[in-house]
């Protein structure tokens, strides 16, 4: 499904600030895989997401989706196959537009846009059905401007918008990190339901180790631009936070220093 080979990316090359963000990274995902990614700040998780989405391009290596080489394809073309939810709840929706208009915009992800009306009677019915999945009552507020929703509601809407058109790959970039614990739990629960419902191939970055263990069938740990630890479908159920921390210490010979991961 998703195939990353020998991905290499350097920032600020040739200056004293030179930083190798990703170093010869391999990652292969089968259809239906749900991989959670953990690692301290600066490990290269966000760079990895941006390279898959086409926001930045690798210096070396290939990105393939469904066997098609997408390495140098622009972000908006690639988006036909990729759904993405950002960390910032404000980033995934257009605040001055209504809920149904936002959904209409997302509905067009897989096809070219025309001069038809974006919201039709038939589509409104469809949007209402989809919004019911969230159990937030948003299906009764189709004409409300998204800017009036709370952060949690907006993030739930972003999640739905990224997924209801069934993308080949779903990217979740710390999408619960900016929410309070109760809202974060809600979004985590919804993520689980939606990914199962649509059987999406998902890559999720998180700083919350417990969340990384609760969700998905595979787990990878990144550090300094490389995957330093992997757990597959059979190994992952046995993992605990303590085991992960110990694993990191064993591999790197240092304690995992991330305030957020310690709090988790």
């Amino acid at each position: 499904m998703l195939q990353l080979d020998q991905i290499y990316k350097v920032f600020y090359e040739g200056t004293p600030d030179e930083k190798i963000a990703l170093n010869q990274l391999y990652l292969h995902m089968k259809p239906g895989d749900f991989v959670t990614v953990i690692g301290s700040n600066g490990a290269g998780k966000s760079t990895l997401m941006n390279i898959i989405s086409g926001n930045i391009f690798p210096d070396y290596g290939t990105v393939k989706i469904n066997g098609d080489d997408m390495t140098s394809m622009s972000e908006h073309k690639r988006a036909r196959k990729i759904g993405r939810v950002f960390q910032n709840p404000l980033a995934g929706t257009a605040p001055t537009m209504t809920i149904e208009e936002n959904l209409a915009l997302a509905y067009n992800r897989t096809k070219p846009r025309s001069l038809q009306f974006g919201v039709t009677k038939k589509r409104r019915e469809f949007f209402r059905e989809q919004l019911e999945i969230l159990h937030l009552g948003l299906e009764n507020r189709l004409q409300a401007k998204v800017g009036l929703l709370s952060g949690g509601e907006r993030q739930a809407l972003s999640l739905l918008m990224a997924t209801f058109t069934k993308p080949d790959i779903l990217l979740l970039d710390e999408h619960t990190a900016a929410l309070d614990p109760a809202r974060a739990d809600l979004i985590t629960k919804l993520t689980k339901e939606i990914v199962e419902k649509f059987q999406l191939t998902t890559l999720m970055v998180t700083h919350n180790m417990q969340q990384a263990l609760d969700l998905g069938n595979r787990l990878i740990m990144m550090d300094k631009g490389q995957i330093i630890f992997q757990a597959n479908e059979t190994e992952k159920p046995d993992l605990t936070v303590e085991k992960l921390l110990a694993e990191f210490q064993r591999i790197r010979g240092e304690a995992l220093l991330s305030d957020r991961s310690l709090l988790a």
């Binding site: 759904g83 929706t93 257009a94 537009m97 915009l105 001069l115 038809q116 974006g118």
Partner: protein, 339 residues
């Protein structure tokens, strides 16, 4: 007095089409596009030159619209493909258009007084219909015969044109392309993640915006009876003034309402300027200064009113807490310290 106000409403409706263009770039795309100062003249120049060379004035006006579309697209390409900052790409295009407009006209001023224009055609067509007599007899019967304008045709036809364009803009902004255009001004990273090409959307949006501006320029040139290379100076501010005044009076809760606000704002702006110019100490040359002052007022006054209202609410709250808790407490102190 009435004749002056009537004239300003007439002109206001024609400028309203320009203001709709400015609304598209300034509010929908969130792109302060200074190309407007140049593309307005491009419209007037294109129409004037074509009319003089014998082209049907309606076709000439459509050609002006296309010329404006092209100018807007170039600004869009400078910004998206050339990665030039929005303000600067507009300024560059405005300066470039000054020379281009001179080239189109071949001289700084092209008179149209002896030509057949859209305005003269509408007037003669309308007079053929005979409605003016009806309206005139109405006015005479209520004793206002001194104030009768020569014809109502231009005002009514231009109102219809302006409302038709407003309606088309409303409908366009609800289409799939229109929705993504609106989202570009709101959150363009999100639009890319839903597979829309934000670069071309911006180019398209600026093209449509400047097409409307040039269309309005072509009509203004025909209305005034000449096209002048300097007639676009400060046009962007007139457009902004219309948008801002309209929003202050009508609001912008929905697209339909916001575009209506722009139309009404453009007419109000003309009325305010006409009334201001009647003061003895002001001259025609002060018009740009008056425009600037109107815009500043329209921007500052609503905020002052909001602040005053918020202050009044706080005072009321403090008074309530005072009476509920006569000895005073932490809350009251906090509420008071906010005052």
């Amino acid at each position: 007095m009435f004749t002056a106000l009537f004239g300003s409403v007439e002109v206001g409706v024609i400028y309203a089409i320009m203001a709709l263009g400015v609304y598209l770039s300034f509010r929908i795309l969130d792109f302060p596009d200074l190309t407007v100062d140049g593309s307005f003249v491009t419209g007037g120049a294109t129409a004037a030159v074509l009319i003089i060379s014998g082209v049907n004035p309606f076709l000439a006006t459509i050609a002006a619209l296309l010329a404006g579309f092209l100018a807007g697209c170039v600004t869009g390409i400078l910004h998206t493909k050339g990665k030039i900052n929005p303000l600067l790409s507009g300024i560059l295009m405005m300066i470039a258009l000054y020379s281009i407009n001179l080239r189109i006209m071949d001289k700084p001023n092209v008179p149209l007084l002896a030509e057949e224009t859209v305005i003269t055609k509408i007037t003669s067509w309308w007079q053929g219909l005979g409605f003016d007599n009806v309206i005139q007899s109405l006015f005479t019967s209520i004793g206002l015969s001194d104030y009768i304008p020569s014809t109502w045709g231009i005002l009514i036809v231009m109102l219809i044109v302006a409302f038709a364009i407003k309606k088309m803009v409303d409908l366009f902004l609800k289409t799939e392309v229109g929705l993504s255009l609106r989202a570009v001004g709101d959150n363009d990273g999100m639009v890319r993640s839903f597979s829309a090409n934000t670069d071309w959307l911006k180019v398209l949006g600026l093209g449509i915006s400047n097409a409307l501006v040039a269309f309005s320029g072509a009509l203004v040139a025909q209305y005034n009876g000449f096209s002048d290379v300097g007639m676009g100076i400060g046009m962007i501010i007139i457009g902004l003034a219309s948008v801002i005044i309209g929003e202050a009076v009508i609001g912008n809760a929905s697209i339909v309402r916001a575009t209506l606000a722009v139309l009404i704002g453009a007419i109000l702006y003309r009325l305010i300027v006409t009334l201001a110019l009647r003061a003895d100490f002001l001259e025609t040359g002060d018009m740009k200064l008056i425009t600037a002052i109107i815009v500043i007022f329209a921007l500052v006054v609503p905020k002052l009113i909001d602040k005053q209202k918020a202050g009044a609410r706080k005072k009321k709250r403090a008074a309530q807490l005072d009476s509920a808790n006569p000895n005073g407490g932490d809350q009251v102190a906090a509420a008071r310290s906010d005052l």
